[in-house]
Amino acid sequence: MLKRNLKLRLEFYKSTLIINLIISVVFGLLTKSVNAFGFSFTLIGFSAALFYKEIYRKHEYYLYYNAGISRQQLVIFCFLLNCLFSILVKICML
């Protein structure tokens, strides 16, 4: 049950990555700042990915609801992973 829960959360996370990465890399390159990349990856790009899902893939949330995972839990999980990734990128660039 826990394993399935984690696998589904990671699947949701993967589904937000393409839009988030494209926006965040562009944002980082335009500003030439790792901090800007991290900020976008955690907030702006991630919000854009969620917005895209809300408009075009809203019904797919039922895949997760049917496994007992709420939208709030998915967003918090992804946000924390994005924070972790941004911190790791920042540390690597120091």
Binding site: K7, R57, H59, Y62, L63, Y65, G68
Partner: protein, 221 residues
């Protein structure tokens, strides 16, 4: 084990012309409740309120005498088949099965003519009927105590419709099932109780005459 789902006192204001009120339902393991109603009568809204993804102004939901605010969040209580497909198009069927089911359940699920035919496909490669059948089977083979099906027979070919009905009947023994659909004849043939959503409230239906009385079926039916 017999499980009992009770839904009572559901109230939801939607707009000045429509609100849900006076809704009471009780579903036990082994029962199939059919809910009919015109388009826009609030059937899907009611299903989502029961499932827990839609808020209501007031609701009281109990499973096995235990009050639960959002049933979908707690254990293997309830699953819901929405009207639109919920499986991500990019994923393969194999990936979905691994994500969703235990090994034993996967064996049980793929031991099926239709599923075997599409087992190497990605979701976007499936026809509407195949996709609906897959979604339905995924949910019916889950460990959930109650299954909410929102128009499961919509736009299915007669052969797949028949398979879906067989599938629902075969899972009835271990689950309670609530179905909304416009396919009156098919649902009526498998349902143990029928209800009509009429002007925001649920009316128990015991015969075709009741449905004619509430203007759901034409007088000529």
């Amino acid at each position: 084990m017999k499980n009992i789902l009770e839904i009572d006192s559901i109230q939801k204001y939607v707009n000045k012309d429509f609100s849900l009120y006076d809704v009471y339902l009780r579903c036990e393991t082994g029962e199939i409740l059919g809910i009919f109603g015109r388009n826009g009568s609030g059937k899907s809204l009611l299903m989502k309120i029961i499932f827990g993804t839609e808020k209501a102004d007031h609701k009281f939901i109990r499973i096995n005498n235990k009050y639960i605010n959002q049933p979908y969040k707690v254990g293997d209580n309830v699953v819901y088949l929405p009207q639109n497909s919920f499986l991500p198009k990019k994923l393969s069927l194999q990936k979905i099965l691994k994500l969703y089911l235990d090994k034993d359940c996967i064996k049980d699920l793929i031991d099926d003519e239709i599923i075997q035919k599409i087992s190497a496909s990605k979701i976007h490669e499936l026809s509407g009927g195949e996709l609906r059948y897959l979604e339905l089977k995924l949910l019916l083979k889950s460990k959930a105590k109650f299954i909410l099906l929102d128009e499961p027979l919509n736009a299915l070919s007669p052969i797949i419709k028949e398979k879906v009905i067989e599938l629902i009947i075969s899972e009835k023994a271990t689950k309670g099932i609530i179905i909304t659909d416009h396919d009156y004849n098919n649902i009526n043939s498998i349902a143990t109780q029928n209800y009509l959503m009429h002007q925001g409230s649920l009316k128990k239906i015991t015969s075709n005459e009741d449905l004619i009385f509430y203007n759901y079926l034409p007088n000529t039916f």
